[in-house]
């Protein structure tokens, strides 16, 4: 039997949740910051959709290069990869953070407008 209350540290993962309409579709955006990754989920369809992984390549302090790949879902949608690429570059340039990004996009359309709106909503509410 333990004496006294167990001290629980504050929840270590911070997150932000917002909901906004994009081109008439209700979009839920969730941004979560873990110790060694960022997770961004943007969904209009009720599921997480396609999941991408983006990371900065090691060892190149100036002009870094990035690696973006789809780890689950549609592999032939370049706009989704472009979205991940924009976010990881912003993450790296604005905060210098080298944490990889897991981006999950469940969208009704993959138009430039929608993806730009998502990128700007995530950047406005970023946790980095």
């Amino acid at each position: 039997m333990s004496l006294g209350a167990t001290f629980l540290p504050p929840f270590p993962v911070s997150h932000k949740h917002l909901s906004l309409p994009i081109k008439g579709n209700k979009t839920e955006i969730l941004i979560s910051s873990y110790e060694d990754r960022f997770l961004v989920i943007a969904t209009q369809i009720g599921t997480m959709g396609t999941i991408l992984h983006a990371r900065k390549e090691e060892g190149m302090p100036i002009n870094p290069t990035f690696n973006v790949s789809v780890i689950f879902g549609k592999r032939d949608e370049q706009m989704l990869e472009a979205c991940a690429r924009q976010l990881i570059e912003h993450m790296s340039s604005s905060s210098g953070s080298s944490k990889p990004l897991v981006l999950s996009l469940g969208l009704k359309d993959h138009s430039t407008e929608t993806l730009k709106a998502i990128v700007s909503a995530v950047i406005d509410n970023r946790l980095w």
């Binding site: 167990t6 540290p9 993962v13 949740h17 110790e35 969904t43 599921t47 992984h53 780890i71």
Partner: protein
Amino acid sequence: MDSKKLEEEIKDFRLREEAASTSQSRREDHGAEHDAELQITCFSEVLNDVTFHFQIIRFPKQIYVWIGCNSAKFGHMYAAAPTRPNNMVSATSILGGSSDNTGSGIARRLVLKTGLNIILACSIPKNNPMLEADAEKLLIQKLISLGYTKSRREGKSL
């Protein structure tokens, strides 16, 4: 003009219906957010001197779960889903390589319990079945209390 308004009202009604059927009273350490579309639950528990952190995000047709073990590391990611025609579950590792499949068993059993697609991220160290079992036990308890698990009656169809 009328049909559009009617459509919107029907949509509103459906959302309210969905929210009413899934909402229950919840008290978490760090608050649960309610939304017709997305429900986020974060909590931590200590069991056998190990602190587990859980983040559960309930989408309408999917559940995302993160399990942290004494840390906030993201860990490996697994996807699992029910597969027709028979009630089989398929699970795969999508991030972190497949040599360490701590967590794929949990993902699999979550699909069986909830009937939904599961994305699980878990940083439980490998070769430690006790930790896995403890984490799963806490998680299942919470899922049952949140009402995300299927009732026995519905257990036949996946």
